[in-house]
Amino acid sequence: MKIAVCVKEVPDAGASRRHDPAADHRLVRDGDPALNPFDAHAIEAALQHAEGADGVTVTAVCMGPASAQRSVQKALALGADDAVLISDDALAGSDVLGTARVLAAAIERGGYDLVLMGQQSADGECWVLPGVVAALLGWPVLTQAASLSIEDGSVRIDRQAEAGYEKVGASLPAIVSVSDAINEPRYPSLKAIMGAKRKPLEQLDLAALDLPAGSVGQDGARSIVRSVGDPPPQPGGTVIEDDGSAADRIVEFLRERNLV
């Protein structure tokens, strides 16, 4: 069985952020980009299945700039067997639909039985990519798995929906996104980090995926950012840095409001 895990590189969440109106409102963040933390849970779920079954391979699939190789290496260090990185200048500016087209083409090319994704990307936070990719492939989609079981050519998940926990399932191949509470991702050992460098990492450009020009990247984008502005002013509470006196400051605040 072949499992693909879609992984994205995202800006470091802890770093300061600004948006740059001069550069198409692109997000500028200081600090190093990293593997989308939500995707580490999808890798972990794939590895847990692979470790308990015979003949299961796990491939990390990423669309991103060449520099995203570092995040792909992280996926390999965590335990993926190999990786595919789709990089091409023509992919810059892709929207959800364009990204989904690229990932769907890479998935078709790889012939996977199951594709796992994170619940959201930390920067895009669209939550919808699994559905779009599934539609392009004609596969069923199951999102936000809090638990996952794979057996006999089918997959079943438990997930929280508006009316409580529900169970949904589908036959394979299928797309599944996992909640970030499904597991605790492992930390790669130093040995695994070194070993990752020797694992196969295939780099593909757009031509390798046979996608019509204009269907991806800036030209293919069907959702358009028209303007970027400041958020409406928040009612504005006080935020303090704890210097050891925070508890007293909270009590003082609660006393002012007659809450203690």
Partner: protein, 325 residues
């Protein structure tokens, strides 16, 4: 001019408030554009209650009554919405970001090759087209999005749950017609619901809630929040991350897929403050937050925030409260 097409979701035999809110918003936009709102409803009994959507501003309803299981699955709903788009050529497809709604929006955008704007909190008309507003980059900026479609239908808009009021606007009745869904070959199967595990305290009745998030670090660490809650005469509330991980009971969960609470005081500890959590507790009288990450969204709506380690702050807070009472 094409209509605005809204997927109005059913759950356990009722239309969901989130999707009724989107219908009401669509009705307001349709008024400005001099067009109308068409709804798609799917699932057992959906066509019987569909006429009532008129009171939410819906003119016409395209209904699919059957479902393969007890509840319609995302693929079945997408089949209906895709058929509706082909039949109606609407200006825009709109849905509420429930778990099912997000899957449906993704499937529809993928099948029809439409652009999709997610996480929208508002919509307006600009130069005769609908545009949406969405917070981005952890809510640090607000972005206006539109679509560049080739056909008559511009795209798909998915709205954050709780963005709009779902109150009926009048007593009108909608016209209801059946529609033949476009058949997907491969389906998601709805296999049932887990037994409800409701037990213990009813958090909706508490005056004080100490909210515990994944920052607690594990199921054995809840002593700090439990004893603080006790000192304040309150109860412990949780996030989905905590409940999905099996650290605490589902009955304590606050948010979109949990309970809605409005205590006098909500102390959020180790909670990032995701929108899906916020919509369950934003009506609290006073919100205090303790989080290590100064960028955590919870600080945007806390009345008093502390950037710090909850394991440092909470025990001291408990002590100070016990001493002061």
């Amino acid at each position: 001019m094409g209509s605005l097409l809204v997927y109005v979701e059913s759950s356990e035999g009722q239309f969901t408030t989130g999707s009724l809110g989107v219908a009401a918003k669509a009705a307001a936009l349709a008024g400005e554009l001099s067009t109308s709102v068409t709804a798609v409803v799917v699932g057992p009994g959906a066509s019987e209650r569909a006429a009532t959507l008129g009171s939410h501003g819906v003119g016409r309803v395209l209904a699919v009554d059957g479902a393969r299981g007890d509840e319609p699955s995302a693929t079945e709903v997408a089949d209906a919405v895709v058929a509706a788009v082909r039949a109606e050529s609407p200006l825009l497809v709109m849905a509420n970001a429930s778990v099912l709604g997000a899957e449906v929006a993704g499937l529809v955008a993928g099948r029809l090759g439409l652009g999709i704007a997610t996480d929208a909190v508002d919509a307006s008309i600009s130069d005769g087209s609908v545009i949406v507003t969405k917070p981005a980059f952890d809510d640090s900026v607000w972005v206006e999005c539109g679509w560049a479609g080739e056909g008559e239908t511009a795209g798909v808009a998915l709205f954050r749950a709780g963005s709009f009021s779902a109150d009926p606007v009048n007593g009108a009745t909608a016209e209801v017609v059946g529609i033949e869904p476009e058949g997907s070959e491969r389906h998601v199967e709805f296999l049932g619901r887990a037994e409800s595990t409701d037990e213990g305290v009813d958090i909706t009745q508490a005056d004080v809630l100490v909210g515990a998030g994944r920052g607690l670090g594990g199921p054995d660490q809840f002593g700090v929040v439990e004893s603080l809650a006790q000192a304040l005469g309150g109860a412990v509330a949780t996030t989905r991350a905590v409940v999905d991980a099996g650290w605490y009971d589902y009955s304590t969960q606050v948010g979109q897929t949990g309970k809605t609470v409005a205590p006098k005081l909500y102390i959020a500890a180790g909670i990032s403050g995701a929108i899906q959590h916020k919509i369950g507790m934003q009506s609290s009288g006073t919100i205090v937050a303790i989080n290590k990450d100064a960028n955590a969204p919870i600080f945007e709506y806390a009345d008093f925030g502390v950037v710090g380690d909850l394991f440092e702050v909470l025990p001291k807070l408990e002590q100070a409260i016990r001493e002061s009472s």
